[in-house]
Point group: C2
Chain length 555, copies 2
Amino acid sequence: MARRAAAGLLRRLGPLACEPQARGMSPTHYGTKNHGFSRFYLIQGRHHLYGSRTNVETDDTRQSAHMNFEVQKRSFSSAAAHIQRNPTYSVLNSNDVSYFKSVLGESSVVQDEDRVAVANVDWMGKYKGSSQLLLLPKSTTEVSKILSYCNSRRLAVVPQGGNTGLVGGSVPVHDEVIISLGGMNNIISFDNVNGILTCEAGCVLENLSSFVENKGFIMPLDLGAKGSCHIGGNISTNAGGLRFIRYGSLHGNVLGLEVVLANGTVLDMLTTLRKDNTGYDLKHLFIGSEGSLGVVTKVAILTPAKLPSTNVAFLSCNDYMSCQKLLLAAKRSLGEIVSAFEFMDRHCIDLAMKYLEGVQNPLPASPYNFYVLIETTGSDESYDKAKLEAFLLRSMEDGLVADGVIAQDISQASNFWRIREGISEASVKVGAVYKYDLSIPVEKLYDIVEEMRSRVGGMGEVLGYGHLGDGNLHLNILSSKYSDKILEQIEPFVYEWTSNQRGSISAEHGLGVMKAEKIHYSKSSEAVQLMGSIKKLLDPNSILNPYKVLPQSVL
Amino acid sequence: MARRAAAGLLRRLGPLACEPQARGMSPTHYGTKNHGFSRFYLIQGRHHLYGSRTNVETDDTRQSAHMNFEVQKRSFSSAAAHIQRNPTYSVLNSNDVSYFKSVLGESSVVQDEDRVAVANVDWMGKYKGSSQLLLLPKSTTEVSKILSYCNSRRLAVVPQGGNTGLVGGSVPVHDEVIISLGGMNNIISFDNVNGILTCEAGCVLENLSSFVENKGFIMPLDLGAKGSCHIGGNISTNAGGLRFIRYGSLHGNVLGLEVVLANGTVLDMLTTLRKDNTGYDLKHLFIGSEGSLGVVTKVAILTPAKLPSTNVAFLSCNDYMSCQKLLLAAKRSLGEIVSAFEFMDRHCIDLAMKYLEGVQNPLPASPYNFYVLIETTGSDESYDKAKLEAFLLRSMEDGLVADGVIAQDISQASNFWRIREGISEASVKVGAVYKYDLSIPVEKLYDIVEEMRSRVGGMGEVLGYGHLGDGNLHLNILSSKYSDKILEQIEPFVYEWTSNQRGSISAEHGLGVMKAEKIHYSKSSEAVQLMGSIKKLLDPNSILNPYKVLPQSVL
């Protein structure tokens, strides 16, 4: 009843609260073009209503990726082809297949060429292996038996979740046996006092989201690939995504794991406790190690309470410094309700307007250099709305925001997000696109975009956008076609520059096969050496997801 | 100016908003005794104003611990005495001392008996070593040289921070060389856009808090021991504390570490990035491993924005189920502003009223069985206040809360917190106290208290209290004096029961020397075995903090 009363209040007070004069503000505070802030709105089930929300860099929708298939192949396919097969691995034989059938049953041992072919290639068609066997275990015991056997036979394996990764981590490089976790998709339990979900690794993220949302909670992560990706894969790649700024990393949200080691040992760390300081917290070894240290089979994860109120604002800033200051101010004033803080430069907006159908710039086509999308999520519509509005008014008074609007309905909010998320889709329509996903300290984050612009000159167009709140830049260089001349201007400069800033050459996608040999740009040689030692300790025969994550030289 | 205006509004509207009739509520909704909710208040610098805030279980203040010195010795001192010195370790000689003097300088190599004696014993006087040497390095290079030398000479060492732990982890068991990090207490940098602090490991938590608060941020953790504990020690013990429910674990908040390994290798993982998926995230190995895998020398940590509005409510519930439901409702309705959710049973309140000077029960002395303290922290006083008030009114209507008050000034808030935090201090005044710090799924959390009450019967009084929001129970059994008869009723039952619930026998204090041999109650044998392998990999001569964390049998 209190909720309904509050909603009534919102409708009643809305127009008054948003009327500039009623707040003692001059209309000129509402931006240079007198747009004013529009009405707030309440979003429920945003992602479903908005259509396909996609993560940045996973923000190539599947459709656009398929359209771009030839381009991608042109750009990437040679990487895996240059890796020699490790001759110490055995070659699969009929006895092996018979053993797997005896353990899993006939139907879970797939040799059918078409079905195996699908599992051999990543969703973008960038990376393609030549495995002849796909295994579909249905239990931890079956995974254990598979690995124990493969370890003793020295058969290399690749664990596969939803196969939605971007760095070739989930497909074979050569003839590795593919172990798909898709058959292990049961929810085991849900603790609705603490919001703790326990489930098998093969559960699809979107299914888990629906499940916990029905209980009044949300998953602490959300990705564009959520309709396909598995929670086990999310954990193995330490997936970031759209809720990172609010709920943080999986290292903070995963409470427990069950993992099968290379030799078949089942490592039960499946606690559902928020606090447990008994010995080394081993589960962190398996979060983000891309299936190279063990196969995640079960997961316990903390799910935050679902909050009813969401607002989205689309703003322009005159310079990058204003974007930074706005971020700081938002953390101060909106701290506990900010759920997204995304930025785009002018080039991104121009591109989106040119190539995306049905998308409109909610702000006038003035020469603003930067745009920011802020989303808030909280427990009370009226309070959250007033907070955001007051914050934006102050930011305009302080000169941080040049102009801005707040979505007044789902359609407007959808349009705002569509601009941000459509940048990648729009960029591939230009022709060739060189994409980099970097973590850089926020104050330096835009420098690389400007430096790159000056290096590339007239040969291409440089876009900068990303999760400003997380220090995660997406740097795209667009050109009419791929050329070595442009590439020489980009690489290794982009990696070296990032390394000099102590940045990360892979903010959220992992290294996979694409960047395994480039790890030294972000990690010290002592650290890489220790990673190698840990790999050898946990997987002495190196059967788990070979050729990936670590450089071959340390193994 | 906006802030001041808002504060003015709060004062102006306060009385109206809190007048029951103005909200259409019957006065009977305000609790059985018609207390009504008092005015809200704004707390700034709460901890300083409240006097010594102490963490639970670290909630023995130093004063009470000293008063209780004899009792504690009676209870615990035999544990370390039973551990045999490992004969493979060398015995310190004059050449060693000369070497250390050549590296550190005379004044940083302490042999003075009195000064070494202080470092040999923990602050409670429970655990006492017989080291003859205290080293005070001032740089990572010096730590590296010390460890490299000790490793080659096979001299065992104990890294020591503020020496505020509760499980004997920071003092020698025998003659280990003590390496105090206290001389490494420089702040290296602060990124005030992202709120990222980089500092040396020997910085005292309270100094860091003051530093970042001046910049508009707060440390993500807060402990009773903050005036003495070091950030390096906090990380090495994965300290929990008062802000855990809001900001989560150090595994989520620590961004980077510099660690010196047993052989003197400096492992530079000191990134300040929120996102970095390049290889294994090794820093997690050193968070919570109690100095047994490496010595933390530098830290980069995420600090949340400091929010201006804090409110505290003190409530009673009729049964434990209501406490659980209230927690769930608070997560739903107050989700983003809850900063503490503590519970106490009736026995705790009775004890506090009996033994704590100047403390008053803010609720009438009715036979309520449970009490809950809720604190909120947010960015806007008026909105947060209205949110909390509405939530409490609903909770009363729903029957979850029997009675309750909200602090109207700092003195009242201080009184509320004093009750919660004084329980431990009050409990030691009874005579003997057996203390356990457990993580248990919330729905089962109070069962152990009731079972223990029935086991102990007339021999003692059983108290249950703790961080309900984190599933962290503090179980105290009070008696006039220690007796084996009571202990037999408590142990090993308390560990076995916790183990059966897949709970943790050490929620936030670590294992140290006190519970190293009890790890199997909370961890599987496969996990303990792997911990042992990792220990051997990183510290093959086992020189780092020996006899602790892991059972001797796995090393």
